[in-house]
Amino acid sequence: MPALNAALATEPGAAVVLNSWDTVLWGVLPYVMAVVLVGGLIWRYKYDQFGWTTRSSQLYESRLLRIASPLFHFGLLAVIAGHFFGLVIPMAWTQAVGMSQEFYHFNALLVGGIAGVATLGGIALLIYRRRTTGPVFMATTKNDKTMYVVLTAAIVFGLWTTLASIFEGEHGHNYRETVAPWFRSLFIFQPDIAAMAAAPFSFHLHTLVGMALFVIWPFTRLVHAFTAPLHYLFRPYIVYRSRDRETKGRGWSAVGTPDRDTRNR
């Protein structure tokens, strides 16, 4: 299979297959997306701290939320981890540690499939809840609705690529030879457009919708993901803050006195 990569690079026909659309979609768009994502996040963080929230609707309804929200979020965390393994870790590495392609593929599909189904089930339940619970629906903005469409589409198309791999079995597409090298190549600013262009349509669709999701990300309620409170594990419990510090610097600073840090006692 590694021959495919080499073939794409060397075969004269491969370069002919590439058209300007491929260049735009897989060579330009990712960088546009990155600029919008990073720039948008920075801008929103500076401009809209007050709007930067989960906008939780648990106060209105918690019976469904208690099941759906953890299902979706934990599923999503697993999906993100799966993307990391699939896209960032080169195939050569897993083979070097003696992991066969079949074993990797089986695990990826099994874990990825479960995580994907959990995520999709979670968001389906969340959307059902949002639509049918009066107060929750009233608190849903147009912005939210747009976001839900893109987010759900990204999950559905992603799951489609996984399921397709399962049903195609041996003949399935190995994204670790197309999408993954392209993804890694983006970070060294040498986009391997040909590799991505060789991936099937389902992967193209999933990637495009995924990029759309990242483009709208900074401008939706999804931003709360970027302030996941990991620092809570390390900060002192009791926070003292001076009135002075309030306006001089807007950044948060933990001023817990060591004695009040009950964690270390």
């Binding site: 007050f50 209105y60 099941i67 306006t247 933990a254």
Partner: protein, 564 residues
């Protein structure tokens, strides 16, 4: 020793008539906004009663406050950091709207606009959450004056506890009833569990005056603080997605005037002043093993402002001279530590609350009087306090983690003061034996009487101003004038409702009130940045955004209404 200053409050429950003026004025000042309809920074509960939100004191269910672990260290009752992180996606124990109540308004418009007919028009209740017709089943003070206590009285968690522990029953039969009012605000604790629960670190205690605030810019709406606070005094604003709480009216206190609830209190039962405390000693004090010793531990944390060593340490911590002077004159320090008649609410939560209560003697006096005894005689009162176990046990559950001796001591002091002062009023010589019976002398007792009975405004409220040289740092004053857009010009922001820079509360409230007072139109919409504020809805028509847009144009509607 690390001396810090803390604004504190004492409420004398004997004087509370349960008029809810504090609640109403607080609401008008702070929570008269969309998303905070159900929020009462200040509420008044009738006790025995379930409180607000319902049964908030049942910590087996709500998991608020601190616990000691097996090694005797303080841990959050709802679980440590890792457990909290796993609870982010759906907070495991959080009150729902039904535990508070579904706020409502009335369809007043019908009263004046209803066509002539056989039936008298009625203003139907409309839910402020859904805008639909609603059935009112509960509110912030639904069981006011023991209303419904024959049915619901047993639901008070403290009643349950006292009943379990005693063979006697607390009777809710009218003739055997005792009751009193308990006004509650945020306790501005020295060891706040809401703050420790906040994953974002958005809740902070001000170094200068100990007021606990939520940084609205840093709050991300993880809702853990609602669980963490055992008093359930952090509320989730369901429109902005941020936590809100009592602010101790910091913009007022900073300029030396009392909080709105204190200022408007009809019974003049609230006292405001400074405590000096040793910040280094708080954690150890909150970790005392026996819950009934937490009161003493809390007392030890409070420092004597007349002690030169304390004053020197305070100066070393840059506490200004006028603040040290205010601490010396502090009425709350006097009531809590000098006279020892003010008790903290639920010390067993281990949060070191800084709003204190003088427990009510009136249930005892009333019972004596009703039985034909002299309710002013100290011997009668002392006997009654000892005999009337149920009120004392109930008060002990509230204020001393069940230590009835402590509550009895305070009630005896109040009884002695009552009896001692009656003697003086009747022109008799002061009977020194009465104060001696409660370990005080006549002079001290008279001073306590002065403070509790006839203290004037500037004796009840000893509030040092924030320093002029720091004026530009005051949180809202500094920015309200250059606030972008100015009054009435806030725009709806593109990223969901209430995004963009926060409107200072003062500006928001100012606009809402101005709208309502000056406009001929429906007072909602334009100044609320796309949110619907039904609290300002006077029933004329429907505020924009209340209902989905459908049906005929407003013009045709109006034309249709004009037809007979």
């Amino acid at each position: 020793m690390r001396v810090m200053a803390q604004m504190g409050m004492v409420m004398n429950l004997d004087k509370c008539i349960g008029c809810h003026t504090c609640s109403v004025t607080c609401k008008q000042a702070w929570t008269n906004r969309a998303g905070t309809e159900y929020v009462w920074f200040n509420n008044v509960e009738t006790r025995p009663g379930q409180g607000y939100p319902r049964r908030y004191e049942d910590q087996d269910r709500w998991r608020g406050g601190w616990d000691l672990n097996k090694r005797g260290k303080l841990v959050l009752k709802a679980g440590g950091r890792v457990r909290k992180m796993f609870g982010l996606f759906a907070s495991p124990v959080q009150p729902e709207l039904k535990d508070y109540y579904e706020p409502w308004t009335y369809d007043y418009k019908t009263l004046v606009d209803a066509p002539l007919g056989d039936d008298f028009p009625v203003a139907r209740p409309k839910s402020l959450i859904t805008g639909e017709d609603t059935k009112i089943t509960w509110s912030a003070n639904w069981d006011d004056n023991l209303g419904g206590s024959a049915d619901n009285g047993h639901l008070d968690p403290l009643v349950e506890k006292v009943r379990r522990e005693s063979e006697d029953k607390i009777k809710f039969a009218y003739e055997q009833t005792f009751m009193f009012y308990l006004p509650r605000i945020c306790e501005h604790c020295l060891n706040p569990s809401c703050m420790a629960s906040c994953p974002s670190g958005a809740i902070y205690k001000r170094v200068e005056d100990g007021i606990v605030l939520v940084d609205q810019d840093k709050c991300r709406g993880w809702r853990q603080c609602v669980t963490g606070c055992p008093y359930k005094k952090i509320y989730f604003n369901h429109k902005t997605g941020k936590a809100e709480k009592c602010t101790f009216c910091y913009p007022r206190v900073e300029v030396g005037i009392p909080t709105v609830c204190s200022e408007t209190c009809v019974g003049r039962l609230r006292y405001l002043g400074l405590f000096l405390y040793d910040a280094d000693a708080v954690t150890a004090a909150a970790s005392v093993t026996d819950p009934q010793e937490l009161y003493d531990a809390q007392m030890d944390v409070l420092l004597d402002p007349n002690d030169p060593a304390v004053q020197a340490a305070a100066r070393a911590q840059d506490i200004p001279e006028d603040w040290i002077d205010a601490a010396r004159r502090s009425p709350v320090y006097a009531l809590a530590k000098v006279y020892k008649v003010a008790l903290p609410l639920h010390p067993e939560y281990r949060t070191m609350p800084m709003v204190w209560y003088v427990p009510p003697l009136s249930p005892v006096v009333d019972l004596l009087r009703d039985q034909g005894h002299d309710g002013e005689d100290h011997a009668n009162l002392f006997g009654a306090i000892d005999a009337l176990r149920i009120p004392v046990e109930y008060l002990a559950e509230l204020f001393t983690a069940g230590d009835t001796d402590r509550v009895t001591m305070v009630l005896r002091k109040l009884a002695a003061m009552r009896s001692f002062m009656r003697g003086i009023s009747l022109g008799n010589d002061p009977d020194e034996s009465i104060p001696e019976a409660v370990g005080m002398d006549g002079q001290t007792m008279y001073e306590m009487y002065r403070l509790m009975a006839i203290a004037k405004y500037d004796e009840r409220y000893v509030i040092p101003k924030a320093h002029v040289e720091q004026a530009h740092d005051l949180e809202e004053m500094g920015c309200s004038l250059d606030f972008d857009g100015g009054p009435g010009m806030q725009d709806s922001s593109p990223f969901g409702e209430a995004s963009g820079r926060p409107v200072p509360v003062a500006v928001d409230t100012f606009n809402a009130l101005k709208d309502r007072q000056t406009t001929d139109e429906i007072a909602a919409g334009t100044s609320l940045r796309g949110r619907v504020n039904l609290l300002n809805w006077d029933g004329r028509g429907a505020p924009p955004g209340l209902f989905p847009e459908k049906g005929p144009e407003p013009d045709t509607l109006a034309a249709a209404e004009d037809q007979p």
